[in-house]
């Protein structure tokens, strides 16, 4: 058993190696016209990803509940009582996260071989993908907050690199920069919150999760934090960390980057912006669950923002014409549900939705990618239609994803989303009502997507004529994910007793925190079927409404860009407007800096310097000419110096 501890470092190292090798391949082949060998590059990248999946699987199988594998290869900071190591910790939470992260990543690597086959930057793409995977692994595998932060920043970097992958189009670069900067704003919250936590812990401050968790579970400390400045600082710390989560997981107010991030290739959207990176916020919340449950205010804020984001994004999804944008807003909305769950204390519920969402959202994205690949780059749904017959496999997979996200019976989303709604009802019926409303709107926009894309007559004959189904490398991952969308829910089929291996797995890690929040006695077990029925009904209402509105009509008014207009545009860009407002002071300051400081102060300094140098130059020049007076003067100057030396030298 001891040996397994020593293998932990391989988990991020293997994809990192893949990144380096692919990077080298890319650089080596940069001079040639076709670039490095695609099969080699794709194989190595997928191998790196797959091997880390296999390793994670092996480790997970050997892990007993409640056990933790740790490895700390070397110490990073050693300042007296404050030590931070470059450490890894593999507990059941990490195991769960790593399994689906590496698994879905491997599938997407495979998919990318087909999707990016025509792209010149093939090797570079796989290098970035591997690097992303390595960073994500470090994020969830880190044993302390600093390691998580490294992964946090790493995935942010790779997100930037991958969104702006097709950098010849400047709009992509803008989107990538936007993602990076908005994330950075959240990172400020992460850091400040961490510092606040450390100051709370005083002399026992440590960034290790094990130490933090133990400290915040100690009854003596809890009573200390109950009142006064302790409580205030705790709330501030947790709110700041949550700000970091909103940045990474695209919640209000830092969500504007996710829809723009769709500028990147579809596999990137599937991996980063559906399955993995955006879930880091929820993961961090779960890791620090013991801390967050101590601050009721923060928990309420999380719930509030979660439900607000869920509803807002769902409505925004209705206004989008670009198939990927719809899915992007869908992701934001579903992430909102996850935060609702976390906010009411059901961390394992939130993580379960993370798990199922990863599968069906990735399936949906990859399916969308297949559609886009088939009709040669068209993304506007108003130009699609009637593709069901042409792309049967893609249609089937996307239908599975649709089924899951609507929460229709026995699909993956059924188990996770309904459980969240159930728990929400326990917390507050109003919250449940909003959640249900969100479910209706979700059904609306998802069905609209399916209808516009696959049914009816084709609105753009030219594109549809050449549509062909996906190649094998793309089809296989699609199938696996589609199956997953239908089946992974059974890991925690709430209504069926005994089928909750997921919850049991996470129990040792999240249990104590959740029990601290348990109200005790308010259980509505009996009406689980009722909830399921109501949820399904809501979804069907939404679906049928969408079918009525958009089904059958071949609206051919696809003029101009796919961006929403009118009220839809205002709704969609609401938070962009707010951001622009917030940026105004910075812009004003920079204008001042440029015009005033730059011109006046530095310009003035430089002019002064110039003047002095010119003066000095002229002076030296004046003495350089052969002149009678100068000769006289210089020899006399020497004499004066001598006199000065003899007269004043005594001093």
């Amino acid at each position: 058993m001891n040996q397994l501890h020593n293998l932990l470092w391989l988990l991020p190292a293997l994809p990192l190696l893949g990144a380096i090798v692919n990077g080298a391949l890319s650089l080596a082949g940069s001079g040639t016209e076709k670039g490095p060998s695609r099969p080699l590059s794709g194989f190595l990248g997928t191998l790196a990803s797959g091997s880390s999946f296999v390793l994670a699987l092996l480790l997970a199988l050997r892990l007993h509940p409640g056990e933790v594998f740790t490895q700390a290869p070397w110490t990073w900071i050693d300042a007296g009582s404050f030590k931070v190591s470059f450490g890894f910790a593999f507990d059941s939470l990490t195991a769960m996260m790593l399994l689906f992260i590496t698994g879905i990543a491997t599938l997407i690597h495979l998919y990318s071989i087909g999707y990016m086959s025509e792209d010149r930057g093939f090797a570079r793409f796989f290098s970035y993908l591997n690097l992303f995977l390595a960073s994500m692994i470090v994020l969830v595998l880190g044993s302390n907050m600093l390691m998580t932060f490294i992964g946090w920043e790493g995935v942010g970097l790779c997100s930037y690199l991958l969104i702006g992958f097709w950098h010849h189009d400047h709009a992509n670069g803008d989107a990538a920069r936007k993602a990076f900067l908005v994330n950075r704003a959240g990172d400020l919250g992460f850091l400040l919150g961490t510092f606040a936590l450390m100051s709370l812990m005083g002399s026992q401050a440590s960034l290790e999760y094990s130490v933090i968790t133990a400290w915040f579970r100690d009854a003596a400390h809890i009573s200390l934090l109950g009142t006064g400045t302790g409580a205030g600082l705790l709330t501030a710390a947790t709110l700041l960390i949550f700000l970091g989560c909103t940045g990474k997981s695209a919640q209000i107010p830092l969500l504007t980057w996710l829809p723009d991030a769709m500028a990147g290739p579809t596999p990137v959207s599937a991996l980063i912006h559906a399955a993995t990176m955006v879930t880091s916020g929820v993961y961090l919340l779960a890791r620090l669950s013991s801390v967050f449950v101590l601050s009721p205010l923060t928990m309420s804020v999380i719930t509030g923002i979660g439900i607000a984001t869920a509803l807002w994004a769902a409505i925004a999804g209705l206004f989008q014409n670009d198939i990927k944008k719809v899915l992007a807003y869908s992701t934001v909305s579903q992430l909102g549900y996850m935060f609702v769950a976390a906010g009411i204390g059901s961390f394992d519920g939130a993580l379960f939705h993370v798990f199922t969402h990863a599968f069906f959202k990735a399936a949906l994205f990859l399916g969308a990618g297949s559609v886009i690949h088939a009709i040669h780059g068209e993304q506007d749904m108003r130009r699609m239609g009637g593709l069901a017959k042409k792309l049967p496999l893609t249609f089937a997979v996307m239908a599975a994803g649709w089924y899951a996200i609507l929460g229709l019976p026995l699909g993956a989303g059924f188990w996770s989303k309904d459980m969240i709604l159930e728990k929400a009802f326990e917390h507050s019926p109003l919250l449940y009502a909003f959640g249900l409303l969100g479910a209706v709107v979700t059904a609306l926009y998802m069905t609209r997507l399916m209808v516009l894309t696959f049914f009816g007559r084709s609105r753009d004959e030219h594109a549809a004529a050449h549509a062909h189904e996906a190649p094998l490398t793309m089809a296989l991952p699609l199938l696996v994910l589609g199956l997953g969308a239908l089946t992974v829910g059974f890991f925690w089929a709430g209504m069926i007793p005994g089928m909750d291996s997921f919850r049991q797995m996470l129990e040792p890690v999240l249990g104590p925190a959740q029990q601290a929040l348990a109200h005790g006695g308010e259980e509505h077990h009996g009406s689980a079927m009722l909830f399921a029925a109501v949820g399904t009904l809501a979804a069907l209402v939404g679906a049928s409404a969408a079918w009525k509105i958009w089904g059958g009509n071949a609206k051919a008014e696809a003029v101009g860009s796919s961006a929403p207009k009118g009220f839809g545009a205002h709704w969609t860009y609401l938070f962009d407007y707010l951001h622009a407002l917030v940026i105004l002071p910075t812009k004003a300051l920079s204008w001042i800096g440029d015009k005033i400081v730059q011109t006046v102060v530095f310009g003035g300094l430089i002019a002064l310097l110039q003047f002095l140098v010119e003066l000095l130059g002229e002076a030296v020049r004046a003495l350089q000419r052969p002149r009678l007076r100068v000769n006289l003067g210089v020899s006399l100057a020497g004499l004066v110096l001598l006199i000065a030396y003899f007269l004043l030298g005594a001093w």
Partner: protein
């Protein structure tokens, strides 16, 4: 009789010497060069006489006699200097000291 502050005499001599040196070095006209030299000689004389007043008895003799010689020599120097100036003026036709900066020609 009280008389004058001896140090002030020296300061005056120093000031005059400085002014004379400045005139000699700064002005481009050759006449001013000679005049500056004259001023400097006078300042030195003043310094001598000033010091002779402060020394007792026989020691004060020097300060009275040497200036006589200085005046005599100044006269000789002025004479020769002006003669040279006339000579040199014939060749270059300029009173600007900058014109005499090169040895050749």
């Amino acid at each position: 009789m009280m008389g004058i502050d001896a140090l002030q005499v020296q300061f005056l001599a120093l000031a005059l010497f400085g002014l004379g040196l400045a005139t000699a070095l700064t002005r481009r006209n050759l006449f001013f060069l000679l005049m500056g030299v004259e001023i400097m000689l006078n300042a030195a004389n003043l310094s001598f006489v000033g010091f002779s007043r402060t020394l007792p008895g026989v020691a004060s003799n020097d300060g009275l006699v040497v200036p006589v010689f200085v005046i005599a020599l100044a006269a000789a120097e002025a004479c020769v200097g002006l003669a040279m100036l006339i000579l040199v003026f014939r060749t270059r036709e300029s009173l600007d000291s900058d014109a005499y900066s090169r040895m050749k020609e």
